[in-house]
Amino acid sequence: MATLTAFTTKLKHSVRRPFPWHIVVFLAPGFLVYTVFMIYPIFGSLITSLYAPNPQNVQQLDFVGLRNYETLLTAPQWTDRLIGAVRNNFVFFTIHMLVQNPVGLLLASLISSQFVRLRTVYRTLIFTPTVLSFVLVGFVWQIMLSPLWGIARGLLQSVGLGDLYQPVLGQESTALIAVSLISVWQYVGIPMMLFTAALISIPDEVIEAARVDGANFWTVFWRIKFPLILPTVGIVGVLTFVGNFNAFDLVYTMQSAMGNPNFSTDLLGTLFYRTYFGFQLQAGNPTMGATIAGVMFLIILTGVLIYLFGYQRRITRVEM
């Protein structure tokens, strides 16, 4: 490092404009780590999805083009699982969009109001679940909802609704909704924070002016504040999309990599994990695993591109 410094200093005093080595030094470590351990693996996985083990020699991989994707979309044992996981993932995402983000917006609109006391305390406490690990959150809710311990049943009984108690995590019809709502519970803090930031950046004069003109709380919110925070609405939407289609941990800790019961909580993340590492009697299949990661990549990329070119551009134009 020291010799390099001396070298560049010497170069600086030479007549010609020296090659700016210091720029290379500043950029190299970050660029290399990012390229080798993030960009290269993402493309490497996509390329792996175009290969399959040779039937004679399993150690050897042959180039097969898009055949893995074809298998995934046509062979029943793959297609059923893939369609199931994609559908569950869309349900998972829809519940986040319909519950997490509106609740986050509601909480943010209350927290950002100057007239509400103890705002910081509420904000800190409501954000707490977001910093907990999936392992924690998964187990906490698993034992809370478990019929064995009976926290959920006890709570329902105390308000006279004991009959409504169901083992929601064990039933095919309710497990996915329950897991989605637990994820909403954990992550509502993020949209809340982002919306709060956007709401407090609206100049007070704008809102006061509307109030003077006789606009009430609702009118101010929907006609003035909401249009001004549309860029944040888009960011929250795309973050939710990417996060949800990449989700794995919560289902894994609560319902195992099988997406119990009977694959009803299986997401693309758990399908990917099972395919790559194998489960029960099925052996792991790295190239099919890479193919599922490829499907996830395409879905996430589509979502991001729709946001970048369909939403963000239009919003910026409206703002100007």
Binding site: V33, I42, S45, S133, L136, F139, S201, F248, Y252, P286
Partner: protein
């Protein structure tokens, strides 16, 4: 005027009611875990909502942890991974951010776009190749493998946040140093303390997800000596599924560092999340 005051009073009450109800929902499970971790098995099941009393108080769950888990080691591993990763992210990202904000060089826009690409595309999609790569490099099942992955995935957002902060450092300051004959590396070191708030934000943004990550420990490590606390707790809880005392104790233990950290740094975290709002 009186009307607005009355309606503000009503709004205040409604707002407090909603926030209070939601806060209760947010922290209720955490409190249930904490109070039951210190109760004996019978009390846990008979009256889960009660605080521990002298008769029901016990530390038996924590005793199980000391005899059957390797928790001190898991904690140590998590600390090593988090600290080394976060320090590398802060150093490498601020170097890159300094270059982006300070120099004009061919391809700088393209390079900064390349770095930003990683903000939206999750690194997990590269898992298949990461495993092969780590095997080839002979570092699979080591803490180094985890650190490299976390540094790589932390770079894009860190570079993005730090670049915009570095741009706000006054040019005069740097030029004055240059006139005094300071090298570019010295100037970088001069700028670094000035972006401390942004470095704090980057640190908190990375510490919590790295501490909590389950995916990469799960796919890159297998032996007990390199387990992180999150993975260790997961394995432990699976194994002791019916020992509520042990589970509640391990939940409590793995929760404490994150919550302490969160309380200590919550201002930084909020500032980071709301940085767009700084007027």
């Amino acid at each position: 005027m009186r009307n607005t005051l009355v309606s503000r009073g009503v709004q205040q009450i409604a707002a407090q009611a909603i926030l209070l109800a939601y806060t209760a929902l947010a922290i209720y499970p955490v409190i249930i875990i904490l109070i039951n971790a210190f109760k004996n098995r019978r009390a846990i099941f008979r009256d889960p909502f009660a605080l521990p009393t002298p008769e029901t108080f016990t530390l038996v769950g924590f005793e199980t942890l000391t005899t059957s888990g390797n928790f001190p080691l898991y904690f140590f591993n998590s600390f090593v991974v988090v600290i080394v990763s976060v320090v590398c992210i802060m150093l490498f990202a601020s170097m890159m951010a300094f270059a982006f904000s300070e120099y004009k060089f061919p391809g700088s826009t393209l390079l900064s776009l390349y770095m930003s690409a990683g903000i939206m595309i999750p690194i997990r999609l590269g898992t298949v190749s990461i495993i092969v790569l780590m095997r080839t490099l002979g570092i699979i099942d080591t803490l180094l493998a985890l650190i490299l992955v976390y540094v790589a995935s932390g770079m894009p957002l860190a570079v993005f946040v730090l670049t915009s902060f570095m741009r706000s450092v006054p040019q005069d300051l740097k030029d004055a140093a240059r006139v005094d004959g300071a090298s570019e590396y010295r100037i970088f070191l001069l700028v670094l303390p000035l972006v401390r708030p942004a470095l704090g934000t980057v640190a908190v943004f990375n510490i919590i997800p790295i501490w909590n990550d389950l995916w990469f420990p799960l796919v890159l490590t297998s032996s007990d000596r390199v387990k992180t606390i999150t993975y260790g707790a997961q394995a432990f809880m699976g194994q002791f599924a019916n020992d509520y005392n042990a589970i509640l104790a391990s939940l409590t233990l793995s929760m404490v560092p994150v919550i302490v950290l969160y309380i200590l740094f919550s201002r930084q975290l909020v500032r980071g999340l709301t940085s767009g709002a700084v007027k």
